[in-house]
């Protein structure tokens, strides 16, 4: 009876598929090829359980009982039979059905077909994209049906593109149909579209070839412009990382004149604090995980700031007026801090997770913008403005500037200079710690983390002009953008070398950086 029903289904909904082997049996099979065939079969069969089973498979929740090759699904409520949905016995012998990339690709394509009629527009959009990628001719009828009912313009466009892609890939499509499909692909205008049009280079029809060539030319122009913009964006993103790394140094080095070689280690401490905060959240309050970075920011500031205050009190305060010796002492401190972290946390990387809002990318008029980078850019700007505010508008900032400009006079006016020194150094270190929170998202959280940024940080501060926060900002962004614009042409290494030589020569031209303060006082 069921068999008959299944046959009926097949005849009704899956015209492409003739009666084939049982997909359930194939899914329970051994080889990936067999499992893949099962996935395709199941999707094409129109079986109402197909969606549930496929998503279970892609999540690793589809199980097989080795004794009788029955498929089961692990759900939150317990084990159910895959075929019927009826509850079933749990069994330690159950083994997950394995998926590799090939299987997962087929699942994605199949889910695409199944989800074309989903109620959720986002899902439909995703499904259309999956079909676009898979270009499976079997999806065409479903696509046509879905397209006829689609109301959402964006989804509709995605479906049109998918349909065009399928048509162009399918052998035996009529010339007229192809010519009608090409503009839809051309309008898409990305690398994938270009790939499809390139595939038409060997088309028998001259008209199709010509249309494809025009399409390719149009896309190439568009991509060239987008590529340049994309590089600028990457540059700003790199610049924001440089800014984050350097901005704390702009305080400890730029304002206080301490050549703080342990600055990178402050960044590292910030990153490790993030790790600890996330660990605590994972074990104690998993629900807070999306907020873990926000929670880490004040923690990292405090930890790094506190260490900074300690360094200032125990080492640096004896060295004011001997800036080059601060270099030596803080280099020693950096060795100690690195080894301390290595002893406590081990030499290997620590995992810092990315909250959902930090991962993925979105499309901005053809530019692919990753969320993580965008947040880092916004974050670095916020830190910069915050710091500017503290130094310019608060009484602490006023005292800091007073002390760094004229220690004796400030002391005479009743400012407790040791207190201000310690807090200023703590502020710079704390800012470095905050940078560590952001850098934990894009780099290794290891004892060597700080080493990678220290030289760049110094160069940024010096290039921008010591003691000038705006200079630091402009320098970081300039270096980032120039680096990224040069990178595609001469490669990452030469771009970096070129930049270093540029800075060396630039300093000859303007020995005090981009935004040097002029005047008699600074020259003596």
């Amino acid at each position: 009876m069921t068999r008959l029903l299944a046959l009926l289904f097949l005849l009704l909904s899956a015209p492409a598929l003739a009666q084939g082997p049982d997909p359930y049996a194939q899914l329970a099979g051994d080889g990936y090829a067999e499992i893949e065939a099962g996935v395709a079969g199941l999707a094409a069969s129109g079986d109402p359980r197909a969606g549930v089973i496929l998503s279970a498979l892609s999540d690793g929740r589809l199980l097989v009982r080795p004794s009788d090759k029955t498929l089961l699904i692990r759900q939150a409520t317990g084990i159910v039979d895959a075929r019927t949905g009826a509850p079933a016995q749990d069994d330690p012998a159950l083994k997950p059905v394995r998926a590799n990339n090939r299987v997962r690709r087929t699942i994605e394509a199949s889910q695409g077909q199944l989800n074309l009629v989903s109620l959720d527009p986002a899902k439909r959009r995703e499904a259309a994209d999956a079909v676009f990628k898979a270009r499976d001719a079997a999806a065409l009828p479903a696509l046509d049906t879905a397209l006829a009912h689609e109301k959402d313009a964006a989804v509709k466009q995605a479906m049109t593109e998918a349909r065009a892609a399928v048509l162009l890939a399918k052998p035996g499509t009529a010339e007229a149909e192809k010519l009608a499909a090409i503009p839809a692909i051309q309008a898409r205008g990305d690398g994938d579209a270009m790939g499809i049009l390139r595939g038409l280079g060997a088309d028998p029809s001259e008209a199709v070839r010509a249309a494809a060539a025009r399409g390719i030319a149009a896309i190439e122009t568009r991509l060239a412009i987008l590529g340049a913009l994309q590089n600028v964006w990457y540059g700003i993103s790199l610049g924001s990382v440089l800014l984050l790394a350097a901005i704390g140094l702009a305080i400890t080095f730029g304002v206080m004149g301490v050549i703080n070689m342990a600055h990178g280690e402050m960044v590292m401490l910030g990153a490790y604090t993030t790790y600890l905060v996330q660990e605590a959240i994972r074990t104690k309050a998993p629900a807070l995980f999306p907020w873990s970075l926000a929670i880490s920011i004040p923690c990292a500031f405090l930890v790094a700031g506190l260490v900074g205050v300690l360094i200032e009190r125990f080492v640096i305060r004896f060295l004011y007026g001997r800036p080059l010796e601060t270099l030596l002492a803080t280099f020693g401190v950096s060795l100690v801090l690195q080894q301390a972290v290595r002893s406590i946390f081990g030499p290997t990387n620590r995992e810092v997770g990315a909250p959902a809002f930090m991962s993925g990318a979105f499309d901005f008029y053809g530019l692919s913008v990753t969320w993580g980078r965008m947040w880092i850019i916004l974050f670095s700007m916020a830190v910069f403005l915050g710091l500017l505010f503290v130094l310019r508008k608060t009484s602490f900032g006023l005292k800091t500037r007073a002390v760094t400009q004229n220690r004796r006079m400030a002391a005479a006016m009743g400012i407790r200079t040791p207190y201000v020194d310690a807090l200023t150094f703590g502020l710079g270190s704390g800012i470095a710690g905050i940078a560590g929170v952001a850098l934990s998202q894009i780099d290794n959280v290891s004892p060597n983390l700080g080493q990678g940024y220290i030289i760049d940080s110094f160069l940024v501060v010096v290039f921008g002009g010591v003691g000038n926060l705006w200079g630091t900002l402009v320098a970081a962004l300039t270096l980032g953008v120039v680096n990224k614009l040069a990178e595609p042409y001469i490669g990452a290494v030469l771009a970096k070398i070129g930049l270093l030589i540029f800075i060396i020569l630039f300093i000859q031209k303007r020995p005090r950086g981009l935004f040097a303060l002029k005047g008699r006082a600074v020259e003596s």
Binding site: R102, R373, N448
Partner: protein, 431 residues
């Protein structure tokens, strides 16, 4: 004046003390058998090498619990070459000359191995080198327990070309700019071309050590991969740079189903430092995976986690290489009845040791070993799901057949007593 005298005599005394401090130690009687461990515990390589030091300490402790070797206890001598290549040579010299070790287990990077090579040759001692490397070398004093390119790179490419692997037609060879990726990519390029892959379908790119801003490179890969043909990335990116690379892959939404990345330097240890969820499905080719279920492996993992006192401690491929190498050395010493390096070197070829992953490794006359090759897909928990393995063990080739300069070379320390015998000219010593 008097003060100056005091000072100079103090200096002389200090110099004298230091001389004697350095020179002693040689004279002590040999109650134990000393084994040198030469792995960086600080600097950039500490991240990878520290675990190997611990693994060796565990293996030695275990052997001692079994009664040691030749009735004597083994005594590990640990030094820190601090990721500094000249220091590797200096420390190797110290281990052999001052501490009189019977064998050294150590090095990770090729340059550290190259740096210590002359020392081992000169002082005639044994080095067990546990890391996959670029090949093109076979030395009498070195035993290579890691993979040669034919035991890792070529099987991985074969897999990706197969239908199971996705039938890749277009290739990105992305590597850190140093000798291992350079050589591996040269070999792979030649191999791919021999399989009919065209020039325009191969993109080779190098980045510096510790590279952290991958935006441009990843978008380049993305663009290269959207040309219509199935694309795969072969990554020989070195340690530190991997984490930001994978993070960027995840950020730019490159999924393994679109463009799979197969890596030769990313193992359980490296994955422990990243959130693996966005990486599910990306691949690694190794000769060992922690997830492989064999009784030997399960026991090894249990012991390791107990030794580290950390239930989350992971094992990896170079650790297994040390496991195999160490046990081979023990067997060879027992076979030779002495720790004399010359005798042990002669005894080693032919020694067999069970792999942790099944099968038996054999030390070959070219001082490389036979190994199974596994391809694993990254799982969300940072482990690997083995999706493919060779049906038999693959013998390590010291000299690549794909490279112009080495295709006629052969290494055989048993019959030919030569590491670079030229089969064309029938002479030892290269071309």
């Amino acid at each position: 004046m008097i003060a100056w005298k005091t000072w100079s005599s103090a200096a002389a005394l200090a110099a004298g003390l230091s001389l004697s401090a350095l020179a002693t130690g040689a004279a002590r009687a040999e109650e134990t058998i000393k084994v040198g461990i030469l792995h960086s515990l600080s600097g950039t390589m500490a991240i990878s090498e520290t675990t190997l030091k611990d693994a060796m300490l565990m293996l030695i402790a275990e052997q001692n619990a079994k009664g040691g070797v030749l009735g004597k206890k083994l005594e590990p001598v640990v030094v820190d070459p601090a990721s500094n290549w000249p220091l590797f040579a200096e420390k190797a010299r110290e281990l052999i000359s001052k501490d009189k070790v019977s064998a050294v287990f150590g090095c990770w990077t090729s340059v550290s191995r190259k740096s210590v090579l002359p020392v081992f040759k000169e002082l005639d001692n044994i080095l067990f080198y546990p890391v996959q490397y670029e090949g093109e070398e076979s030395e009498r004093n070195v035993f290579y327990t890691g993979a040669a390119p034919n035991q890792q790179a070529i099987p991985a490419v074969d897999y990706l070309m197969s239908e199971d692997g996705g039938g890749a037609k277009r290739w990105v060879l992305e590597g850190t700019d140093y000798v291992y990726p350079r050589t591996t990519n040269k070999i792979l390029e030649a191999y791919l071309k021999s399989k009919g892959v065209k020039d325009e379908d191969i993109l080779i790119n190098y980045t510096p050590f510790g590279f952290s801003d991958w935006q441009t490179e990843v978008s380049k890969i993305k663009a290269f991969g959207s040309a219509g043909k199935k694309t795969a990335v072969v990554s020989t990116i070195n340690g530190d740079a991997n984490v930001p690379f994978y993070k960027e892959l995840g950020n730019q939404g490159i999924k393994a189903t679109d463009i799979p990345v197969v890596a030769f330097s990313v193992g359980e240890e490296e994955l422990a430092g990243i959130d693996a969820k966005p990486l599910v499905g990306h691949l690694a080719a190794w000769n060992y995976f922690e997830s492989i279920k064999t009784p030997e492996n399960e026991e090894f993992i249990k012991k390791w986690q107990a030794y580290k006192n950390n239930p989350k401690a992971v094992t990896n491929d170079p650790m297994e290489a040390h496991y195999i190498g160490f046990n081979m050395w023990v067997k060879a010493v027992e076979k030779a009845g002495t720790t004399d390096p010359d005798k042990v070197i002669a005894a080693l070829p032919g020694i067999e040791q069970k792999n942790l992953t099944g099968g038996t490794a054999t030390m070959l006359p070219n001082h490389h070993i036979t190994k199974p090759v596994f391809i694993g897909e990254i799982e969300a928990n940072g482990q690997f799901d083995v999706v493919w393995k060779t049906d038999k063990l693959i013998p390590g080739e010291a000299w690549s057949k794909q490279l112009e300069g080495s295709k006629d070379l052969e290494a055989d320390w048993v019959k030919l007593n030569c590491g670079n015998y030229n089969t064309k000219t029938k002479k030892c010593g290269g071309a």
